[in-house]
């Protein structure tokens, strides 16, 4: 039984020249040849690098404030929110007596998917995604970055709020309610 619809149009029978494939081969080679004279698109990677956008999400890192203090207060929010559970924090009381800080802060970079949730959730702006994206490792242990390494990667970010100065000296900053005042108001 013939199928319904119009019959398929077949191309006209190829000539003797086309049957030798030469026109097609020459046409293809002409296209290849033309590419030699085109603008080169190859980026010579190790010497030349792509300019990553400013908001590029690379490996996460911890930062210090402009007085060299570790900004992280070990609140565990990043550890909690991290989808692949790449972050492992151990808290400790810190000697300045104002808050707690991380004793250990390990990020397993092989687990990390650079989603940026940690940066987004951090109430202290202590963790940021760097633009570092070409780190490779020879072992799993090597790719678990500890606190020192993360702080070294993150560097310093100035903190306009000066929370530490306020808490250590006990003088409320203008315009921002102190911790004591905040507690009083809540009770």
């Amino acid at each position: 039984m013939p199928l319904n619809g119009t019959p398929v149009r077949r191309p006209a029978k190829t000539g003797l020249l086309a049957a030798t494939y030469l026109p097609s081969i020459l046409k293809g080679m002409w296209i290849t040849l033309r590419h030699i004279f085109r603008r080169k698109v190859t980026m010579q990677y190790p010497e030349e690098t792509w300019r990553l956008p400013d908001n590029y999400r690379g490996l996460p890192a911890l930062v210090r404030d402009d007085e060299g203090r570790v900004k992280c207060v070990a609140c565990f929010l990043c550890e909690y929110v991290c989808p692949p559970k790449a972050i492992a924090i151990q808290a400790q009381e810190i000697t300045t007596g104002v808050e707690k800080g991380p004793r250990a802060f390990d990020i397993n970079m092989l687990r990390c998917i650079m989603c940026g949730y940690c940066e987004e959730v951090c109430p202290e702006q202590a963790i940021f995604l760097t633009r570092e994206s070409t780190t490779v490792g020879l072992s799993r242990a090597e790719m678990i970055f500890d606190k020192e390494k993360l702080l070294q990667m993150g560097g310093t970010r100035p903190d306009p709020i000066k929370k530490w100065a306020r808490l250590t000296q006990g003088t409320p900053a203008t315009g921002v309610p102190s911790v004591a005042a905040g507690r009083g108001g809540a009770s």
């Binding site: 990677y45 092989l110 687990r111 020879l138 799993r140």
Partner: protein, 186 residues
């Protein structure tokens, strides 16, 4: 090959000629020579299992052009490959196939675990996913990222090249090669 062709004042040229044969002949050890050959003709087996394979393809494409490192001949037959790039989530169902393909590759062979999933399971902490392809096959280089940039993969391949040259010397009890300086050839 001299790196100072641009600044060939007569004094420099005389000094170069005084070096004699070293100017024209390069000596090496067989181990280094073989390693040099292997290094610059890595044939990857693209074990593309998920989205990382897209970045793997980008690395082979003209912009990043891994042909500059001699690794553009992606072999879809393990018999012809010596570098397995595991790009993607290795499920427990796929793991036996990965293992088998790795076993079919001839020695010497290397493995790159590309991306979070292949390196450690990534965000798939699941009953159905191996927590890193190194549960199944030995991995030489781990690349973080989800997915890693093509540059990171090129870094990984360069790391494999270094590893390869180093191991070639270690296997023969030789000291590690001196760091490469400009103008001493490849």
């Amino acid at each position: 090959m001299s790196g100072s062709a641009g600044a060939a004042t007569p004094q420099v040229r005389e000094a170069e000629e005084a070096q004699g044969l070293d100017q024209w002949v390069m000596t090496t050890r067989l181990a280094d020579y073989v390693a040099w050959g292997r290094k610059n003709s890595l044939w990857p087996m693209p074990m593309g299992l998920a989205c990382c394979a897209i970045e793997l393809m980008a690395m082979v494409a003209p912009r990043y052009d891994v042909a500059r490192f001699g690794a553009e001949a992606l072999r879809f037959s393990p018999r012809q490959a010596d570098l397995m790039i595991v790009a993607g989530t290795v499920t427990k169902k796929m793991a036996p196939a990965v293992k088998r393909i790795f076993d079919q590759m001839p020695e010497p062979k290397w493995v790159i675990a590309m991306g979070a999933c292949a390196s450690s399971g990534g965000m798939f902490r699941s009953y159905s996913v191996t927590q890193g392809v190194d549960e199944v096959i030995p991995v030489d280089v781990y690349i973080p990222g989800c997915p890693p940039r093509p540059e990171a993969l090129i870094e990984g391949i360069m790391k494999v090249q270094d590893l390869l040259a180093r191991r070639a010397r270690e296997d023969r009890g030789l000291a590690p090669a001196a760091p490469r300086t400009a103008g001493t050839g490849g």
